[in-house]
């Protein structure tokens, strides 16, 4: 049974909405233009991909309460866009919302702790009621009125790829007709300090897959796809965009924060997704890589790509040089970038790249390339070794 994508919605530092993001990608305009001290005055000098709209304005655009955590506001905006895109009243079908996040409402928890110091009796409790990831999902679920299934996944930076996978499986099993699946993560002082404590942040703009890469830039955003069953498509209720033809979830099981040098987990997730899609490596036209620009990820992922695709490596790029690493949202956002690549026949360039990693014969796309595509692969890997890959394919008529 085919699982179709029938709608997309996204928010990132490139802007609100799919078309703003697409314009930025093809005109090679990145959104990494803020600095970490905006989030934490004591942490200076790290560029971040921040959506330059404050919570009050976001709340107004989303018709939501400004008391929502930022993750919920971005999540709602992207989910609403995706639902409008499909042009269907999802309440009339068995609908689900499967979201993903790694920070939940911790942006407000930070404010709570800052305002109360160490005095446990102080601090505005409204700031912590939506701390849990599931609360953020529920705030959005209430607004978009799904009726059958709601849950939240958190597998670090592969989170929203996994929510897309779960949605597909629930539809295949016949439990849902339609699902809003993806994820959201706001920039927070917590994650900034966390990645800084691990020495993984670049003080300049990140350069994925470059020999001189020094680390990642954090970003924020939300990305959701609408997955629908074959039944809805056959009935002519929706116009599908592409097929989610393959997916795979594996674990690298090498180290809590580092990928194995040979990229075992990435190799397994990519090959598993291709197997399900029923295509060989040569059938892939474009890879939207995880490509965080850390030493470890790019070497490991690059190794896995070279082993799997051998001498026939397809057009490849990491779009994190545009958005920064949006953590739990990246799988959803980059799934949409991959769908845009597939439907428009365009490979987005890997900005700022100049020098390949010495031991790898891997040269990403450096200019906008137009060519017809049948299948694109997108990767999402995270802490704990969580690896997930998705394959989107053109609908054959």
């Amino acid at each position: 049974m085919n699982i179709y994508v029938a709608g997309t919605g996204l928010v990132s530092s490139l802007g609100i909405g799919v078309s703003q993001n697409y314009d930025a990608l093809v005109s090679q305009r990145h959104g990494i233009c803020s600095f970490s001290q905006e989030l934490d005055p004591l942490l200076e000098g790290f560029p971040v991909g921040r959506l330059r709209i404050n919570n009050f304005d976001l709340a107004e655009i989303a018709s939501a309460s400004p008391r929502f955590p930022r993750t919920a506001l971005m999540s709602l905006l992207a989910a609403n866009e995706a639902i409008e895109d499909v042009g269907l009243d999802i309440r009339n079908y068995r609908s689900g919302f499967i979201s993903a996040t790694t920070v939940g409402g911790i942006d407000l928890t930070e404010q709570f702790f800052i305002s109360n110091g160490k005095n446990k009796l102080r601090g505005n409790l409204h700031k912590i009621v939506n701390h849990e990831c599931g609360r953020v999902t529920n705030l959005v679920a209430e607004k978009i009125e799904v009726n059958t299934y709601v849950s939240t996944i958190s597998t670090a930076c592969s989170s929203s790829a996994n929510s897309i996978i779960l949605a597909a499986r629930l539809i295949k099993e016949g439990r849902l007709d339609i699902a809003v699946a993806g994820g959201a993560d706001a920039l927070t002082a917590f994650t900034l300090n966390g990645f800084n404590s691990l020495l993984l942040l670049d003080t300049d703009l990140c350069i994925p897959f470059d020999a001189k890469r020094k680390g990642l830039n954090l970003g924020e955003g939300a990305g959701y796809v609408i997955l629908v069953s074959e039944r809805l498509v056959d009935a002519g209720v929706v116009s599908p965009i592409v097929i989610l033809s393959g997916y795979s979830n594996t674990c690298d099981a090498f180290h809590q924060t580092a990928m194995s040098p040979e990229g075992k987990g990435p190799f397994l997730s990519m090959s598993g997704a291709l197997r399900m899609a029923g295509i060989t490596p040569s059938g892939v036209n474009y890879i939207n890589a995880h490509g965080t620009a850390t030493q470890n990820n790019d070497a490991s992922e690059g190794n896995a790509v070279c082993r799997l695709f051998k001498n026939n490596i397809p057009a490849l790029s990491s779009t994190k040089c545009y958005t920064g690493h949006t953590l739990g949202a990246s799988g959803g956002i980059e799934a949409i970038f991959s769908i845009l690549a597939l439907t428009n026949g365009v490979a987005f360039p890997n900005l700022r790249f100049s020098e390949p990693i010495p031991e790898l014969a891997l040269i990403p796309v450096t200019e906008v390339q137009h060519f017809p595509m049948d299948n694109v692969l997108t990767n999402s890997f995270g802490f704990g070794g969580n690896c997930s890959s998705l394959v989107f394919s053109k609908i054959l008529v």
Partner: protein, 340 residues
């Protein structure tokens, strides 16, 4: 498709981890906090793990390892965890350092271990397991989601043995905050007594892991005969669901997740009113209330049926148990387990 629990292990407010420790009666805890009675980890974890890991990680690691051992060490095809609050100890530690202007020496270990997927990934790391790995973080529906995913994998043949568990830890800081939230709720709802928590409300924590399998073998403890989740059902749906189970199966014990928080009472009352001349027990009176407490309920049912003996509830011979849990009126879970 039949689903079996071939291994199960729990750490809870009662010393139930070692099967050799047969309890004659539940441990009495004072106050409104049911904190886990943890095993001595010396023989269960490496010294460096004991030093570095927070309680949730230690509990998750040991209960998952024990469940796999009980299941006779099958190859695990998928590892799935559910946690509502996540790794609170490390999250709080990192957060407090971050806002301390005098000492911002932030330890990356706390950040690494604060991530919600730490338990499931550490278990995979320990087992060198490259299979499916997932973590659900949907508040009071996290374990339900994890169990649902596990059963889906077994039903579709994507997996033959799945490790699945529910874990949450209660730290002093978070207990204080939950207490403040509870008091605030009491204050704002003083006119509406029905929304106030009962005096018997206890905060809890725990870790319970299971090996689910599509095959019955000598290790099999119970069979899961039915599992159903309902999101925002009408009253009729809840009742017809319940009646389906009670008509088809000879349920002789009902384990209810009633937490004495009045918000959920309505649906528990509907269910209770349909139970006649059968034993009924609120499992949260033993483990306290926490987002993944249903995992303790399932462990308790398994323990009662598998004959490993659980005298915490003085009952006679039981063959079928129905567990029902409701989270914030929206999410409802039914699990039927049968002796096998």
């Amino acid at each position: 498709m039949k689903i079996y629990i071939n291994g199960s292990s729990s750490i809870s407010a009662h010393p139930v981890f070692e099967p050799s420790m047969v309890l004659t009666e539940p441990v009495i805890h004072s106050g409104d906090r049911l904190i886990c009675i943890e095993p001595v980890y010396d023989k269960l974890l490496e010294p460096i793990q004991i030093r570095r890991m927070s309680r949730i990680l230690k509990m998750g690691m040991t209960t998952s390892a024990r469940a796999i051992k009980q299941a006779d060490n099958p190859h695990i095809d998928a590892i799935i965890a559910g946690t509502g609050f996540g790794c609170l100890e490390d999250t709080t530690r990192f957060l407090l350092k971050m806002i301390d202007p005098d000492d911002r020496s932030m330890n990356p270990t706390s950040f690494i271990q604060s991530t919600y997927n730490t338990v499931s990934s550490l278990v995979a790391l320990n087992l060198k397991n490259n299979g499916y790995n997932n973590t659900f973080v949907h508040s009071g529906f996290s374990f339900e989601s994890a169990l649902d995913d596990a059963i889906l994998l077994l039903n579709t043949g994507e997996a033959k043995n799945v490790l699945v568990g529910g874990i949450d830890e209660l730290t002093t800081e978070v207990y204080d905050l939950l207490k403040r939230l509870q008091n605030a709720r009491i204050k704002t709802t003083k006119k509406n007594l029905s929304l106030q928590p009962a005096k018997t409300y206890r905060f809890g924590e725990g870790s319970s892991f299971f090996v689910l399998s599509d095959k019955h073998n000598s290790a099999s403890q119970v069979e899961i005969t039915n599992f159903n989740l309902l999101y925002k059902p009408e009253k009729d749906q809840i009742i017809s669901n319940f009646e389906n189970y009670t008509q088809n199966d000879e349920i002789d014990l009902f384990l209810l997740g009633k937490n004495d928080e009045k918000m959920n009472d309505e649906s528990y009352n509907w269910i209770s009113s349909l139970i006649h001349n059968k034993k009924c027990f609120n499992y949260k009176s033993l483990c306290g209330d926490y987002p993944t407490a249903l995992s303790f309920g399932l462990w308790l049912a398994t323990s009662i049926l598998s004959g490993s003996g659980n005298p915490m509830i003085p009952i006679g011979k039981i063959n079928n148990i129905l567990i029902y849990n409701c989270f914030e009126r929206q999410y409802h879970a039914f699990i039927c387990v049968k002796r096998c």
